[in-house]
């Protein structure tokens, strides 16, 4: 492997790259999908390759391949540098990099029991137990999913860095559909971590499955949520969507250097109530978006985005740190060896407060409490919020009343944050993938927070 890195880096330098790096990746993934008592798919994926990039006066050229020979890397280095030179000549703004890693380091994954050491039979039995527990009553269709991935990376750059690390993730997910006449309702939940099989052992698959099955059946009785501006108690999933989709995406450094973000000029200004604190934290133990280093070799970091309502700063890659003259924050991430590095989030969440969820409910005269997430969409330019929840409850006179169907939460993010008046002491993160507005460029992330009460526009159902 040393020959490969050496061939790539030398070719980058001799072709005229001012900076360059070479990244290799070996990804092993295992998946089980089981539905209505039958296996739908059991598969193992091995994906391996290399990617290199050349930086020339503010422009980047990338090339990648799957054949591990020094000659292939040398040829690719020339192509990448030629692309970067052509783009630099086309008038791209000159930029410099800041905080380029230069040391040698190996990071071990924090895994106690490697999922690869667990037999396929045990994993199938786990998925079967989860899936089987959902069935019964009004539940008409079930889906149990188990996923694991182990990705080994190695990176070397022209500044002398050589970094190796491994990321291991596991995930157990359940989906149930309940039916009554023509009406169908769905419930979905997942438990995931950057961890090994020891995390799976903390889950009771039967209890998890029963919970999702029961939830789907209960939703058959759910009514349409009230529409318009409402007092909403956001559950940790909905809090996470607000943190990730609007405040998180708009705090990515490349959206700031382009002045595309509605948060481009707000450092030091109040953007939320004093109860609102928000972080992006790649070091969060065991969370889905946690990483030891980013795809540029910068160590993961806990970045304060909002501190007690006042906006603090942005997430950075090497290049945006150079442009904005700050330190990189370990947020230069790429989907895989073939893809470019962007500024990407890791685990983005609102900090917990001092209330209990029950106390917030008891203090709410009229409103709704959300439960579970389906999707969210960023609005970097306008700061608008759109999130779709799975379900919820009407809150009346301090009590949970009728179940309500999934709802769309919307409104201007800063107006919502400024209206936050109660925050619970819970902190729950959920895992997912983020596409940065692109349709096919995904990295694993976490998002979440506490229960937060705010004024939010509700629609749908």
């Amino acid at each position: 492997m040393a020959d490969l890195f050496s061939a790539g880096l030398k070719a980058l330098e001799s072709a005229g790259a001012k900076f360059g790096d070479v990244r290799t990746e070996e990804r092993i993934a295992y998946a089980i999908r089981m539905s209505n008592g039958q296996i739908e798919n059991v598969s193992q994926v091995r994906r391996t390759g290399w990617g290199l990039r050349a930086f020339v006066d503010g422009a980047w050229g990338y090339a990648s391949g799957t054949s591990f020979t020094p000659a292939e890397l040398a040829a690719a280095a020339k192509r990448a540098t030629a692309i970067a030179c052509a783009n630099a000549a086309a008038g791209v703004k000159k930029t410099s990099l800041r905080g380029v890693p230069s040391g040698r380091k190996t990071y071990q994954a924090a895994v106690k029991v490697d999922p690869a050491d667990i037999s396929g039979e045990e994993k199938v039995a786990l998925t079967r137990e989860l899936e089987g527990a959902m069935r019964g009553g009004a539940v008409s269709s079930t889906l149990g999913l188990y996923n694991e991935s182990s990705i080994a990376y190695e990176l070397a750059n022209t500044a002398g860095a050589h970094v190796a690390w491994r990321e291991v993730r596991v995930r157990l997910a359940a989906q149930a559909i309940a039916q009554e006449g023509d009406r169908q309702e769905m419930a979905f939940d997942a438990k995931d971590a950057s961890a090994g099989w020891e995390f799976i052992r903390t889950i009771d698959p039967a209890a998890f499955g029963r919970e999702v099955g029961t939830e789907a059946a209960e939703r058959l009785q759910a009514i349409k949520p009230p529409a318009g501006l409402q007092t909403v108690i956001l559950d940790p999933d909905a809090s996470g969507l607000l943190a990730h989709e609007v405040m998180g995406h708009a705090s990515e450094g490349d959206e700031i250097t382009k002045q595309r973000s509605f948060l481009s000029r707000v450092v030091g200004k109040r953007v939320g109530s004093a109860l609102v604190t928000m972080y992006d934290d790649g070091t969060f133990p065991g969370a889905h978006g946690s990483i030891p280093v980013d795809s540029e070799g910068s160590p993961a970091h806990k970045t304060t985005i909002i501190d007690r309502g006042v906006y603090q700063g942005y997430m950075q890659s090497l290049e945006t740190a150079g442009t904005l003259k700050v330190r990189p924050t370990g947020n230069g991430r790429a989907q895989d060896f073939g893809r470019r590095v962007w500024v990407r989030m890791t685990n983005t969440y609102f900090a917990p407060g001092r209330d209990t969820k029950d106390a917030i409910v008891e203090d709410t005269k009229d409103g709704v409490l959300t439960k579970g997430w389906i999707s969210g969409m960023e609005d970097v330019v306008g700061g608008g919020f759109q999130a779709v929840t799975q379900s919820g409850w009407i809150v009346k006179d301090g009590e949970l009343r009728e179940r309500v169907r999934g709802m769309t939460l919307t409104g201007k993010a800063l107006a919502i944050l400024k209206s936050v008046d109660r925050v619970s002491k819970d902190l729950v993160l959920s895992g997912g993938t983020c596409g940065k507005g692109e349709a096919d460029d995904f990295v694993p992330v976490g998002a979440g927070g506490p229960y937060m009460r705010a004024q939010v526009v509700v629609g749908g159902g």
Binding site: S35, Q38, R47, G61, A90, G120, E185, V381, V388
Partner: protein, 460 residues
């Protein structure tokens, strides 16, 4: 050597290692990608990958494995992994073998040699055309846009003698432009996808994106409530159509009771003007191919005729369970080949066509007494089981007595899409391809459609 030639080796090796049957899917693809930032090309990629997906069976047990493919050693490794997997999975009583009737030939216009040869230079020219057209309008900048070309070749071989090959090209663009600066800005966003670069009119996309950004900037936050006719732009409608109808018509979802259209063949699911076809043989279609990703021959079929549900699309497995024809097993998404070999071939629509009407968009709008024309949602998403949706509107125009009035934003369009299909007020004539995003196979071909019964609700 051409690594696709290793596909039959994989099948033979799997059988030699103890599998009764095997199916190998090999794909080779190259990608060129240009990212525009602040009006100029900032990042460009040139990448290539070859991969192999292998499915093996012994009796009623089935297992899969896949690998990046660099040589014969990778074939031996993936065969070993897949065959070992057979010892770890339970029997599937419904499994009855792989595809038996292979597809032959290519569909016209799926492979474009000029696109395959265009390279990064070709993309840069497309990007320049788009940026120049957008910036022709005063106050416009292009902070972020991406342009991509892919060319690919696929070979599917199985132990039943199926040996199917096809090739193709894909051009794709994700385009955003901004009007204004500081806190008073508007944004226009569009996608473009075709099998050839020349089929995308980048100048027109630039002009449309710029117009939408300017209109978005001047739009007012909608207040109040409007119940009338909603005309939805194809790019937004296509996504809603795929999430609902695209899932409802697959035999897999029907058999697993995940489809709201299960058991409804012969029943009304749409207005009389609604006819829906799955067309894998559509010339210049984004998903067009003579054989699907199991190697099975594809066939065009009518799913909804004049509002009546006629049938479903099926892969080999579910075709046998439901007594249908196979040909709808896919791995790749409609606009990208990335990771296709690593995903299982599953039952999906191909080119799902909502048959067009005869009216232009302007004629459609002229027929609206009171309603809204929606060009852009924050995210066109719905509940695929119930059909319920509430999408935030980013670009829309209020229509009164057939005339375009004010531009509005920050409102929710709410309703139920399955109900909407039964209340179609008019169908436009101009089809646009809209790929399913997030890696899911399938592509909608839809015109603008006017729906009665949806509601526009202001946030203020």
């Amino acid at each position: 050597m051409d690594l696709l030639e290793l596909a039959p080796d994989a099948v033979a090796k799997a059988r030699a290692r103890g599998a009764d049957a095997a199916e190998a899917y090999a794909i080779r693809y190259a990608t060129r990608h240009v990212y525009i930032e602040d009006d100029v090309p900032k990042v460009a990629e040139d990448r290539s990958e070859v991969g192999l997906g292998l499915k093996v069976a012994r009796g009623k047990r089935v297992a899969s494995a896949s690998t990046t493919l660099a040589g014969a050693a990778d074939v031996a490794a993936v065969v070993g992994t897949a065959v070992r997997g057979l010892g770890q999975v339970p029997e599937d009583p419904d499994f009855s073998g792989f595809a038996t009737e292979g597809g032959r030939g290519e569909v016209a216009g799926v492979y474009d040699p000029a696109t395959a040869d265009a390279g990064v230079e070709g993309l840069l020219e497309a990007a320049r055309t788009f940026v120049d057209a957008a910036k022709a309008r005063k106050g416009i900048s292009v902070p972020k846009a991406t342009f991509r070309l892919q060319d690919y070749a696929v070979r599917v071989v199985n132990s039943n003698g199926v040996d199917a090959s096809h090739r193709g090209t894909l051009a794709y663009a994700y385009l955003t432009v901004k009007h204004g600066s500081g806190s008073n800005v508007g944004e226009g966003v569009l996608h473009g996808a075709q099998p050839s670069l020349k089929a995308i009119d980048f100048a027109a996309l630039g002009e449309t994106c710029a117009r939408r950004a300017a209109e978005n900037r001047e739009a007012r936050a909608y207040t109040g409530k409007l119940t009338g006719v909603a005309v939805i732009d194809p790019q937004e409608l296509g996504a809603l159509f795929l999430q609902s109808v695209g899932g409802a018509v697959t035999a897999q979802n029907v058999q697993k009771k995940r489809s709201p259209w299960a058991g409804k063949v012969g029943q009304d699911v749409g207005s009389a003007s609604v006819t829906i076809r799955d067309k894998p043989r559509l010339p210049r279609g984004l998903v067009s191919c003579a054989s699907d990703d199991e190697g099975a021959a594809t066939r065009d079929r009518t799913l909804v005729q004049a509002g009546v549900l006629k049938g479903y699309v099926a892969d080999t497995y579910h075709a046998r369970l439901l007594g249908a024809e196979p040909g709808n097993a896919f791995r790749r998404s409609a606009f990208s080949l990335e990771g296709a070999y690593a995903r299982p071939a599953e039952n999906h629509v191909s080119n799902l066509v909502l048959e067009p009407g005869v009216k232009s968009l302007e004629d459609l709008l002229r027929g609206v007494d009171r309603g809204v024309y929606v060009e852009k949602f924050a995210a066109p998403e719905l509940n695929p089981i119930s059909g319920a949706f509430a999408c935030e509107v980013r670009n829309a125009t209020v229509i009164e007595h057939g005339e375009r009035k004010e531009h509005v934003k920050y409102a929710l369009l709410t309703g139920n899409f399955y109900d909407g299909l039964r209340n179609v007020d008019g169908i436009g004539r101009d089809l646009e391809p809209v790929p399913s995003f997030y890696g899911t196979p399938g592509c909608a071909y839809v015109p603008p459609v006017a729906f009665a019964g949806f509601e526009l609700v202001g946030q203020a």
